[in-house]
Symmetry: C2
């Protein structure tokens, strides 16, 4: 049997074998991997809960695949609300005919990513749809985490003068997927930045009073995240173009494809609004992480124009950054 | 705008408008409905967590639609481990071109179902895939609930002599979907049994010592659930054919389509293994619920043959019920 068949999503014996032979061992369950799990931890602190469905195309791309993306993305969603990620569920929607080996590679990547992020995949579900009614594999992950008592991330805590920190260079994930999709290769290759941000956030939150709001700029890119911040705080997010970390490969790929890196998706960086007096401390803390080497303070929060994101260019000009309109890069995550 | 476009899944302004105008008001969020939520409840008791993806085709069927199915199904998964369902997430994978009105109807059904089951949909995610890469809409729901201290559902608590209770008639959901898919209609119509089991379970668990194990026989039907029980307990699940509740319409539809109702999916009933001394009490408690009117004790747990499910027929014969092999009814939930 080298391909996924409709029977693998039947609820019957083929599905039970798939789970017993592949999912359960990969995710460290002994024999069982059902759609509901009883967790041994009690909640101390507030619960956080999140969900994300992954439909990235192609499912394998430079620097990652849909499986690790699905784990890291949900770990990061929890991290962005200040939670310590604990448990994930995984829901698979597989197109009939997916090579069995692809599924095994993806599940194995998920298991590795979960281990790296210290989360446990505790429950799962498998559906199979007919050929032509899906596209290889879609994965939903939902996550639960605990927010420590002292952590309070909220738009209401942001005030003018706060600094805007970014933890790494922008556009890597989106351009890696676009390159693969268009048959382009770069030297050195542009790799997805997919990575868990949980340990980086844990270290930042050693100074919880200094961190007001965080977000990972995924779909819609940095420009859309800054717009969300501006709307939620009713303040202005002002950044300087020359301070934004951007690797030459991504810049080149964006130029080639006519894309603005400010709108390209990222999967392993965060943007944080932080108190000015701890900004340098946080920058240093982020810089100690493998995915934080290019971290930078790229601007600050201002009072006016309220609700807007502004890009200041090198020659002294400035422009308003709109939220992403329409669809720039479909199915990037 | 009467159809879903790729831009509705962009992460940008079109998606924000969809969320602000439709999802957030339906789910009772003021303006925000993001992919991560901070929950105000602390856990008292053990946490339960579950996930299920819904790919039912067609998305509207007699007695329900994919939206309420997605809420009820996950409420029921939590209920089956003894948890009180509290929070749900919703992940949408929409095919470009889905009529906007269909999405609105589905979301509205989800909101109603959540209200009826007293759960809150706290976070969501929306992806759009190109026409021909999906099939209308797929929905993942993940859920979190709390298991009261006194509840302990476990295969290890089951022993020979325990009774097998079913809360309602079998096969209604599967045959309603199959009828719709095949353009068949019945008089009276066969309706899906989609319903939340949470209040029914709450009432059963007023006698927690009497309830050993529960499951909702969805994909794979009653026969597959009994096989799961038999394997997990290493005991025999023995049921009598004449005691199984089955409405004439479902029997007729199964005969017409050549299907065995024991393998047809259900979405609003449960099977429970219960202590013999409380079986009658529980039967009465279940019978007081709208979805429990046809509840019945259909058999009992026996020591031998270990690991098997046995159907005793009216004429004194018996046959081993296998787990569902291959795929009988694809995309039933």
């Amino acid at each position: 049997m080298d391909k996924i068949l409709m029977g693998h999503g039947s609820g019957g014996s083929m599905m039970h074998e798939l789970i017993a032979n592949h999912f359960a061992p990969a995710f460290g369950m002994e024999g069982m991997f059902s759609d509901a799990a009883v967790l041994d931890a009690k909640a101390e602190g507030r619960l956080a809960m999140c969900t994300d469905s992954y439909v990235v195309s192609p499912i394998f791309f430079p620097g990652g695949n849909i499986g690790e993306l699905a784990v890291n993305g949900t770990v990061n969603d929890l991290s962005m609300v200040g939670a310590r990620p604990l448990y994930l569920t995984a829901g698979f929607i597989i197109e009939e005919g997916l090579p069995f080996d692809d599924l095994v590679r993806i599940v194995s990547s998920m298991a590795e990513a979960a281990k790296a992020a210290s989360v446990k995949i505790v429950a799962g579900d498998t559906k199979v749809v007919e050929r032509g009614k899906g596209d290889g594999i879609f994965i939903n992950t939902a996550g639960v985490g605990i927010i420590p008592e002292e952590v309070e991330l909220s738009a209401s805590r942001v005030s003018p003068g706060d600094r805007i920190i970014i933890s790494g260079s922008i556009g890597n994930h989106g351009m890696a997927v676009m390159a693969e999709r268009n048959g382009l290769s770069f030297d050195p290759p542009v790799l997805s930045d997919t990575a868990p941000l949980s340990t980086l956030v844990r270290d930042m939150l050693k100074r919880p009073e200094g961190v007001c709001l965080m977000r990972d700029p995924t779909r819609g890119g940095l420009a859309t995240t800054l717009n969300e911040f501006a709307r939620e705080t009713n303040l202005c997010m002002s950044i300087k173009e020359e301070l934004i970390p951007l690797v030459p490969g991504v810049r080149g790929a964006c130029d080639l494809l006519g894309l603005d890196p400010l709108y390209v998706a990222n999967e392993g960086i965060l943007v944080a609004l932080v108190r000015p007096d701890v900004a340098e401390y946080l920058l240093e803390a982020i810089g100690k992480h493998p995915s934080g080497e290019m971290a930078a303070i790229i601007g600050s929060v201002e009072a006016e124009p309220a609700g807007a994101a502004i890009l200041k260019t090198g020659i002294g000009g400035s422009r308003i950054l709109q939220m992403l309109q329409g669809e720039q890069l479909p199915r990037i995550c």
